[in-house]
């Protein structure tokens, strides 16, 4: 009885009620084509809207109080700095082969101020590829066996202890300096740093120690700073690492000299430390400049698109603009500034904003077209340098230890006038002093403001909450399309086992296996292409051909392959967006349209309609663009002109990615290339 009742009950309910979210999912999947068109368009549009949506920067941390104290740097300190510049540019100091003389001069100057001075000698480390060291701090460095006495660098380090501080924190000022071939700019940057340093030895308000690092940049600015930081952060306790620079007579000579000439002073042979670093400033002065006013460029991108806290940039920007009257620059893609299509896009947005404002006066989101173009150029360069994952200056070494750092490059309008030199020393010095005083006020690490942002101008930024929308819109249709393809393929041929082994999944090992040899970049690139194609074809014939022969069941094989491709692209982009957002964004721009459109060319040819013809053309174009080397050439050609483009450039580019441990390298190798190969295989599918 009961059973029959139950049966009748279940009969009465023909369909179990589907929950709304499932219904929504089904709806989206069944309309995946429209959804993907809408989402992709919106995603690209949102990307172009970012300069309009950028907000003005503001100092988020109360404690900073930039500019609240009047600068104390006086002409006395400037003349001190001038003295150092003169001594360094004096031809006598350059007589020595190794440039030790100038290091001695600097050390002597520091000692005269009463600072603690030490030399740090280092060997430039070979770059090693650590594929998964995205955000972890570098290890103390492998002890390399074959040090030679001929190649070492000397960093000069001066430390001022805060008179009433607890010595637990420090602010670092870095001036790269190549003693062997220093330009006037480098000497000037030392002069600025010295004038600030001489002021800071006198002030009573220091709460953090000040470290002045004169980084020996003969093996690269980054290498010197990174070597010093490695030593600072990860002290070596074993004496096994001793057989290095101390063995070299020249270095010992240097120390002996110092030790004798100034006994009882604050000079020390051992490595000196101060507290944890609150912030670091790298100061450079550019040698030549053709600009009409004194400008200061801020470089902030560290490895893998990590940025320093926005507050640091804000402080520098505020002080430079509102206190010292310097113009502040951030990197721009200059070639974009003249592009007419961008200008017209900006005008469209401007007029749209005007219309919106006339409709409702409170809507004020429009920006002038010229501003839009500049914003876009800055945004594009911000995206590019973050995506590259290669630090744009020595400040990148600090970011690896979670220290906020930026490089300031002062480019003065050039003249050899002494008044001018004093002026730039004074203003540069006051800027540095202001930033140091502001950071000195800090009570905690920088944490209030953003770490994830894109700059559209020195005083405007797009925060993570806004720019993620564009990316999310771009990749949103991927899972839906994948699901709908899978469902279609399954329903049409239920018996199909769908064992579509992806023939190219293994090919990406190729580029790893190729070691960097002494071939020219062009040759290397060609060899790589040939090898890849060869291995690809071999594997394809070995693994994929038997399946391709199985006929009728594999009718929809390409759909399944596409579904797999799209899912893997989705997963890859999703993962990459966590590691380096900019890479994922650019990758999504290149790959999402290609993956969504991919369809066997044969089908399109067979159909012969206008629509399929268009799709075919699109597929071919996208298939070319999405190939990383092709995309690279295209971009480079667009920005620098096609005349300069060289086949070897791409190889060099990838090599630099490899050398800097960029996650972008992994992305290209493990997501972009395989997916491109899959898409190509779909295009040429024999169905």
């Amino acid at each position: 009885m009961a059973e029959t009742k139950e049966k009748s009950l279940s009969d009465e309910k023909p369909k179990p009620r589907v929950r709304p979210i499932v219904r929504l999912g089904i709806f989206l999947i069944s309309h995946s084509f429209h959804v993907s068109v809408v989402c992709c368009t919106a995603g690209v549009l949102a990307l172009f809207l970012l300069p309009v949506l950028a907000k003005n920067t503001y100092i988020s941390e109360n404690a900073l109080m930039p500019g609240s104290a009047s600068p104390m740097l006086s002409n006395q300190h400037v003349s001190d700095g001038n003295r150092l510049v003169k001594d360094l540019t004096n031809p006598n100091s350059k007589s020595s082969e190794t440039g030790i003389e100038s290091h001695k001069i600097i050390a002597q100057y520091m000692l005269d101020l009463g600072a603690e001075v030490s030399f740090h000698k280092f060997h430039p480390q070979m770059n090693q590829f650590h594929p998964l060291h995205f955000f972890s701090s570098p290890d103390s460095g492998k002890i390399q066996e074959n040090y030679s006495c001929s190649s070492y660098g000397i960093n000069t380090v001066g430390i001022i202890r805060a008179p009433r501080g607890d010595g637990k924190e420090a602010i670092v000022l870095v001036t790269p300096y190549n003693a062997l071939k220093s330009g006037f700019g480098e000497a000037l940057s030392l002069g600025i740093a010295y004038s600030v340093f001489s002021l800071l030895t006198q002030v009573t308000w220091l709460a953090k120690d000040i470290i002045w690092l004169v980084a020996d940049s003969q093996y690269g600015e980054y290498a010197a700073v990174a070597a010093w930081l490695r030593e600072y952060q990860t002290p070596k306790f074993s004496s096994l690492s001793a057989p290095n620079a101390e063995m070299c007579p020249d270095v010992n000579n240097l120390f002996e000299l110092k030790g004798h000439s100034i006994s009882g002073s604050k000079f020390s042979n051992s490595f000196r430390r101060a507290g944890t670093m609150a912030a670091a400033l790298v100061l450079k002065v550019r040698d030549q400049n053709e600009q009409f006013e004194d400008t200061i460029s801020i470089y902030a991108e560290a490895s893998n698109g990590q940025m320093p806290n926005l507050d640091l940039i804000n402080v520098v920007n505020y002080l430079a603009v509102h206190r010292q009257g310097l113009r502040v620059n951030v990197e721009k893609l200059w070639s974009l500034l003249n592009s007419s299509w961008l200008k017209s896009l900006g005008e469209i947005f401007e007029s749209l904003a005007k219309v919106a404002k006339s409709l409702y006066p409170k809507w004020k989101f429009g920006i002038p077209a010229t501003e839009y173009v500049e914003g876009t150029a800055t945004l594009a360069s911000s995206l590019y340098y973050q995506a590259l994952g290669v630090p744009t200056g020595p400040h990148g070494a600090f970011r690896d230890y979670q220290v906020d750092a930026i490089t300031l490059e002062i480019s003065p309008k050039f003249s050899l006038d002494k008044v001018w030199r004093n002026d730039i020393l004074l203003r540069g010095g006051r800027l540095i002093e202001g930033v140091i005083r502001s950071v000195n006020n800090l009570l905690e690490k920088f944490h209030q403001s953003f770490f994830l942002y894109l700059l559209t101008s020195p005083s405007k930024f797009v925060s993570v909450g806004v720019y993620m929308i564009a990316f999310a819109l771009l990749i949103a249709p991927l899972p839906m399309v994948a699901a709908s393809l899978y469902v279609d393929a399954n329903s049409s041929s239920k018996r199909s086992k769908g064992d579509s082994s992806t023939p190219s999944a293994i090919t990406d090992t190729d580029e790893h296996s190729i070691a960097i040899r002494s071939w020219s970049p062009t040759t290397s690139f060609m060899i790589w292409v040939l090898l890849s194609i060869l291995s690809l074809l071999t594997l394809n014939s070995v693994l994929a051909s038997p399946l391709a022969c199985a006929k009728a069941t594999q009718e929809k094989e390409w759909a399944l392959v596409k579904s797999v491709t799209i899912s893997s692209v989705f997963i890859g982009l999703g993962l990459m967006s966590v590691i380096n957002f900019a890479t994922a964004e650019i990758g999504a721009l290149l790959m999402v349209p290609m993956c969504l459109l991919a369809q066997p060319l044969k089908l399109d040819v067979r159909a012969g309609t206008l629509r399929s013809f268009c799709r075919m053309i699109c597929n071919l174009v996208l298939g070319h663009i999405a190939f990383p080397p092709a995309a690279f050439f295209l971009l480079k050609g667009m920005l620098d002109g096609f005349g300069n483009a060289n086949v070897g450039d791409f190889w060099m580019w990838v090599e630099s990615l490899w050398a800097w441990n960029s996650a972008t390298y992994l992305f290209i190798g493990m997501v972009q290339l395989p997916c491109w190969v899959l898409c190509i295989s779909i295009l040429f599918h024999t169905c």
């Binding site: 404690a63 008179p163 009433r164 009573t204 005083r437 009570l443």
Partner: protein, 402 residues
């Protein structure tokens, strides 16, 4: 011997002066809640830490200096400073605190007694000080030992919001807490009158929950308003004083201990355009008219003194109608105004002696009578008069009994 005079009426007639005498004495003898104002206390609290809140400490120290200058002794000031700006490493002038960029006045001089400093300044300790519920080990110097005759000034500054005041960047005092503490104080007869002065954003909201009588509250800003700093000292690199406190101090700098400026003149001295906020005062719990209360009743230690002939006469409180004003009788506008108002109001605490003595006579025989007694030389003569009046009463009553 029966007379035509009704003995009872005679009795009443004779009783009348005695009653009059008695009632006039009883009139001036105060009930429990109307205790005399006998002492002054000040609780000055700076609730915020960190170097960039320098101004809050400077505010509090400025007020400390002012109340001390106006006569509240150090042992009756509880000074709570949540951080030590003077010894902060960022301070360009070690061990000195200024509230003006001219640096003329070092607020952190030799004789500053900080009772609660640094992390001792918590909501708990603050409430303990107010309510007097201390651990046994807490020394007397850290306690608010006020009684039912105390006028207390409670000054607080820091960062606040809608119905709260932040302490130490980690906890907050809510308006309920404050009201509750004040209520407890009232129950425990820890004050006679309390002036709460708060310089913080949305300070007015902090007084919303107050219920206890005798409380007067003034805040620097209304709900939704910020309190701003007055100016920045570009030498020290921080803002050194808040606007509300700055103008409060500007008011007090003109005064000395003998001045007679009233609370209403203080309250009306705040100019919203200079303050950039609206100073708000809540006086519905306060009975006296603000025009007649001198600011020195709270910010100084000026109170009426009772003159007695003998040092140990017990009657001190009885005939305290006399109030010898120690203040100078300068003919300032406030002074005259205040006296006129007292006449109308006939308040029970402050009775000025009329040097002219003409206004009182016109009122009624009752007060004439009282005036006469007030004019009487001393208590002894009063008692003598009373005894003389008793004699006929005695005689008549014995005669009636017979």
């Amino acid at each position: 011997m029966e007379t035509f005079i009704n003995p009872k009426s005679l009795f009443h007639l004779l009783l009348l002066p005695c009653l009059l005498l008695y009632s006039s004495i009883a009139y001036n003898s105060s009930p429990v809640e109307a205790a005399m104002h006998t002492n002054n206390w000040a609780v000055l609290v700076c609730t915020s830490r960190f170097w960039f809140n320098y101004r809050h400490m400077a505010n509090t120290l400025s007020l400390y200096r002012t109340v001390k200058r106006l006569g509240i002794p150090d042992e009756r000031i509880i000074l709570m400073l949540a951080d030590d700006m003077a010894c902060n490493t960022r301070n360009k002038y070690p061990a000195q605190v200024f509230n003006n960029e001219n640096h003329r006045l070092n607020l952190y001089g030799d004789n500053v007694e900080v009772d609660y400093r640094g992390y001792e300044v918590t909501v708990e300790n603050f409430l303990r000080v107010l309510t007097g519920r201390h651990e046994t080990a807490v020394p007397r110097s850290k306690r608010l030992l006020s009684d039912e005759g105390s006028h207390i000034l409670l000054y607080m500054t820091g960062h606040g919001g809608d119905e709260f005041l932040k302490f130490q960047d980690s906890e907050e005092l809510q308006s309920h807490d404050l009201a509750d503490a004040v209520k407890q104080m009232k129950e425990k007869h820890r004050f006679k009158e309390l002036l709460i002065m708060v310089d913080t954003c949305q300070a007015a909201t902090l007084f919303n929950q107050l219920q206890s009588p005798g409380v007067l509250a003034i805040g620097s800003s209304m709900k939704g308003e910020n309190s701003y700093s007055h100016h920045l000292d570009s030498d020290v690199g921080v803002s050194v004083v808040d606007r509300f406190t700055y103008y409060t101090l500007a008011f007090f700098e003109r005064l000395n201990i003998y001045d007679n400026a009233s609370l209403s003149s203080l309250f009306s001295s705040y100019n919203p355009s200079l303050l950039m906020s609206t100073a708000y005062y809540r006086k519905d719990l306060y009975k006296r008219r603000l025009e007649e209360v001198p600011v020195t009743n709270f910010f100084g230690s000026v109170m009426e003194t009772i003159h007695t002939d003998a040092a140990y006469k017990a009657l001190s409180r009885r005939n305290s109608g006399r109030f010898e004003d120690e203040m100078s009788l300068d003919q300032s506008v406030h002074h005259i105004e205040r006296r006129m108002l007292i006449k109308v109001n006939d308040g029970y605490e402050i009775h000025d002696i009329n040097p002219e003595g003409e206004e009182g006579a016109s009122k009624c025989p009752w007060s004439t009578f009282r005036n006469k007694f007030q004019k009487a030389e001393n208590v002894d003569s009063l008692v003598n008069y009373g005894l003389v009046a008793m004699i006929p009463l005695l005689v008549i009553s014995t005669w009636l009994v017979q």
